[in-house]
Structures are given as structure tokens and as C-alpha cells.
């Protein structure tokens, strides 16, 4: 049933008792052309674009819990394409363009809200850096504006723009087309659209082993039985290392936990997404009214998907350093997500040393915004057995070759990206 105001009104008459399931829940078949492991945004988008762009519909997405329950469901939902290095810039800009049409494309309102993302500059060095980045963006066809302190203050009135602040605001880099989206809706919207395209979405099905024969994965062991597939795509974010390990691969990935938290909801006070590199922090206000804050990693390998006080303290301190008037609001909930931190802060989308195993990981802090383009490119790579030009640089072997794509220049220490 197509979603629209009309169908909503019609169903209201029948007390909403006739809505169909958003996606089916079929039992797993024994064989698929393509199996995508991981029912996060990336896995679901990949399945959707396999069907939509490549006509490959004998596809299953296997999810150990519930779809969107990984980082897709626990991120701060910031969407932007303000990258400096070219492979990133083009890839994320493609993603942003897909976001702009996504609700219509999926017939599911993902509430992509282009409210603007501003990176605060706290020093002349920050301003130089942002100029460098913004200029590169503009040359790459991406919108960017450098704001003065007064302009920042005008957009974000509660920000402490006084010159005595510990990290004074000197200006900012604004991407107006950036914003946020409703994270869960992204997973559900892709699932519904993929399902409509024939994809089987199989939840509560954990991959427990990958049986390998020479250079191929011959079967996938799951908690719901053995499944075989011609091609297998891995899109399991922080679990990439663990599952690649089942196939005997060691990845340039470390798993770290990233914290987020929300405040109690209040009436609108913050209409722009505000981030600060210097204090490692980002905040936006959701449509329900909570302030959504993200912070730093725990800074050690971890699969413990739970909250931890020091990063929460730091994120809140950063918030209050910038927005002193929020100190009386309350923290409602905190949680953590299990991140796939790569060795250069950029993703890996492509082939692996195994013939029929493909990899989509290394998303670090930033993979939610990548969801559409990641699905687009990963589907392309799987369908054609070669990368799309947008993900050609994101290979697994780039590290050894000296072709790291290091946006921050932090080096091979994943927890610094």
C-alpha cells in the first residue's frame, strides 16, 4: 500500500486496522544469489539498490537482532558532505544527493531535514583549516560557506560567542544542505522498499560461522540454519573484524564504542546542527525536542555496547562550554554504539582476497550519512564484481600500498580518527 496523506485518511476510517506489514518476515531459504550480512542501514540499502539498480532480487539480508538495531539505530543522525579529500568528497556528496530524494524514492518519510550543519572554528588555525576544506568542497561542487562569529551567533543564538569563552567562537564552516534524518525510518524505509523489490529480510538470525573452501565462502552458518549464496556482502559495522575472522581474514579495523546521549525534550531552541572539532562534540535538536549529543570514543577496543561515564561527562562539558544556558536541562538516556574504526578514518567498500566475499566497513563516526551511497556503491560492486568509480579508492589493500585516505592526518591509530 502506497503511503500518502490519502491512504492515511482512508485507513483512519477503518481505524487503521488494514495497514499491511511494512516488510515480510519470511523464513530463510537455503540458497540466495546474494546474502548481505547485517541489517543496518548499509545492508538494507545495499539490498534495495541490488534490486532497484541491478535487478538482482534473489537477495537476503540477515540480521542477528532487529533491523536498524546497530549503529543505524544509535547514531546522532548528522548528514553532511563537507569532506576535504576527493574520494570522500565525491562519495559523500553523492550520498547527500540521494538523501535529498530518499523519502520520495522509498515512499517512506525519513524526515531528512536540511537544517544546516555548522563546524565551529575556535582559533585562527581552525579558520585556516576550514577555509582549506570549504574551498576544496566548493571546487568539488559542494556547498560551503565560511561564517563570521556574528553570523554563527545569528544562526545559533544560545551559543556563547563571547571572546572570554575557553574556546571562543571565531566563525564557522556551514553546509546548509546538511542536516539530520530520522535514523530508524531509514532502516525501515529501506527494508520496506527492498522487501517490495523481492528481498528477504531475515531478523533474529545470527551468523555464527563462514565455511570456507579455498578462496570461496561456501556456506553461511546461522542460528536459523545453513544458508548458501553465490555472493556474500558483509555490512556489520563494529562486528566486521569478528565476522571477517570467521572467514580467516584480519582487517585493518578496530572496534571501539562511541557514546551518545539525549536530553529531555524541550520546545525548539536549536535549529542548526552544531559541531566542534576542537572539543570533539556535536549536537542537534530532534523533532521530538531532545538535544541529541555525541562525543568521543571510549578510546579502547570494546564491544560492550553500553554507556560509560567519562565520555558522557566530556560531551556534556563541551555542550555547556558552548551553550551555558543548557545546564539545567536533564540527561534522559545514554547509550553506546559499536564502531568500525578504520586505520585512516575512511571506509572500506570493495572486494576481499576471497572471490565471493565483499566488504563494507570502516565507517567510524560517519557512516549514517553514507547509508544511501554506501548501499549504492556496494550493490554496484557486488553486482559487477568491480567497484563503482565512487568507491574505487576505498579498497582494502590501500593501506599496504600507502594510499590511506586520512582526512585528519591522524595516522594508523584508529582511536584518534
Amino acid at each position: 500500500m502506497k503511503y500518502s496523506l490519502f491512504s492515511l485518511a482512508r485507513n483512519a476510517l477503518s481505524h487503521h486496522e488494514r495497514w499491511p506489514r511494512a516488510w515480510r518476515s519470511p523464513p530463510p531459504k537455503q540458497f540466495y544469489d546474494v546474502v548481505i550480512i547485517g541489517g543496518g542501514g548499509h545492508g538494507l540499502a545495499t539490498a534495495y539498490y541490488l534490486a532497484r539498480n541491478h535487478g538482482i532480487t534473489d537477495v537476503a539480508v540477515i540480521e542477528k537482532g532487529y533491523i536498524g538495531g546497530g549503529n543505524t539505530g544509535r547514531n546522532t543522525t548528522i548528514i553532511r558532505s563537507n569532506y576535504y579529500l576527493e574520494p570522500n568528497a565525491h562519495f559523500y556528496e553523492h550520498s547527500l544527493k540521494l538523501w535529498e530524494g530518499l523519502s520520495a524514492d522509498l515512499n517512506y518519510n525519513v524526515m531528512f531535514s536540511q537544517r544546516g550543519v555548522v563546524n565551529l572554528a575556535h582559533s585562527y588555525a581552525d579558520l585556516d583549516n576550514y577555509s582549506r576544506r570549504g574551498n576544496a568542497m566548493r571546487l568539488n561542487g559542494i556547498d560551503a560557506e565560511l561564517l563570521t562569529r556574528e553570523e554563527v551567533s545569528g544562526m545559533v543564538p544560545l551559543l556563547d560567542c563571547s571572546s572570554t569563552a575557553r574556546y571562543p567562537i571565531m566563525g564557522g564552516l556551514l553546509q546548509r544542505r546538511g542536516g539530520t534524518a530520522r535514523h530508524d525510518a531509514v532502516a525501515w524505509g529501506y527494508a520496506r522498499a527492498a522487501d517490495a523489490g523481492g528481498v528477504d529480510i531475515i531478523e533474529q538470525c545470527e551468523v555464527t560461522g563462514l565455511r570456507r573452501d579455498g578462496n570461496r565462502i561456501v556456506s553461511i552458518e546461522t542460528t536459523r540454519g545453513v544458508i548458501r549464496a553465490k555472493k556474500i556482502g558483509l555490512a556489520v559495522a563494529g562486528h566486521s573484524g569478528h565476522i571477517a575472522g570467521m572467514a580467516g581474514l584480519r582487517l585493518p579495523i578496530e572496534t571501539h564504542v562511541l557514546q551518545a546521549l539525549v536530553s529531555e525534550p524541550v520546545k525548539p531552541v536549536l535549529d542548526t546542527v552544531v559541531t566542534s572539532g576542537a572539543v570533539h562534540f556535536y549536537v542537534s535538536q530532534s523533532d521530538k525536542g531532545e538535544l541529541v549529543l555525541g562525543g568521543d570514543l571510549d578510546m579502547y577496543n570494546s564491544y560492550g555496547q553500553r554507556s560509560n561515564l567519562p565520555p558522557v561527562e566530556h560531551a556534556v562539558q563541551a555542550l555547556l562550554a558552548l551553550f551555558p544556558s543548557f545546564s539545567r536541562l536533564r540527561m534522559l538516556r545514554t547509550w553506546g554504539g559499536v564502531m568500525d574504526m578504520s586505520m585512516d578514518g575512511s571506509p572500506i567498500i570493495g572486494k576481499t582476497p576471497l572471490d565471493n566475499l565483499y566488504l563494507d566497513c570502516g565507517w567510524c563516526y560517519g557512516g549514517f550519512k553514507a547509508t544511501p551511497a554506501s548501499g549504492w556503491c556496494f550493490a554496484h560492486t557486488i553486482a559487477n564484481d568491480q567497484p563503482h568509480e565512487l568507491n574505487a579508492a576505498f579498497t582494502l589493500d590501500r593501506y599496504g600500498l600507502g594510499k590511506a585516505i586520512d582526512e585528519k592526518g591522524g595516522g594508523p591509530y584508529p582511536w584518534v580518527h
Binding site: H239, G241, H242, G245, R250, L251, P252, I253, E254, T255, M299, Y300, N301, S302, Y303, G304, N308, L309, P310, M343, Y399, G400, P412, Y413, P414, W415
Partner: protein
């Protein structure tokens, strides 16, 4: 907040430490020392288990020793710690 057992100073809050990652990477030696692949593996490939992990930490706000801690990355259960140096010398 983790409590990390410094073999010298005793248990201290994690905020006193800085992380050094996988404790079992070693610069290639012997014939491997000439191999670019071995060096790449040393720099870019780390153990990333969901479970017991041997890792390095520096007690940076304390005695400044680098130590080797064995910790479960899922439960954060601690299985002991030792000076980083001792094991390095032993290997």
C-alpha cells in the same frame, strides 16, 4: 568507567591511562624485516577480538609505565596486567 590494574600503582581509573592498542604487534625482525607486507601488517592489522584481548596502556597520568593488560572487550572483565617490558623481553 574502567578500573585498570597498574602492576605498580594498583587499580586506577581509566582516565589516568592512555591506550596503546593490540599488545602483540612487534616490528618485523629477521627475514621479515625486509618485507613491506610484514611491515604493513605490523602497522595496519591489529587483533580485534570480541573477547579476551591483550593490550597496551600507558599509565600516563601516573607512573608513566607502559603496561600490558588482558581484558575482555565484551564484558570488560580484567584478567590481569603486567609491565609491558617484561613480556617484551621474554619474547
Amino acid at each position: 568507567m574502567l578500573s585498570i590494574p597498574c602492576p605498580y600503582c594498583g587499580p586506577r581509573d581509566v582516565t589516568e591511562f592512555s591506550y596503546g592498542g593490540d599488545g602483540n604487534v612487534r616490528p618485523p625482525t629477521g627475514p621479515d624485516a625486509a618485507s613491506e607486507a610484514a611491515w604493513s601488517a605490523y602497522v595496519y592489522l591489529r587483533a580485534n577480538p570480541r573477547g579476551v584481548h591483550e593490550e597496551l596502556w600507558q599509565h600516563s597520568a601516573g607512573c608513566r609505565r607502559w603496561i600490558r593488560v588482558t581484558r575482555n572487550t565484551l564484558t570488560h572483565e580484567m584478567h590481569g596486567s603486567a609491565p609491558a617490558r617484561a613480556s617484551a623481553a621474554a619474547s
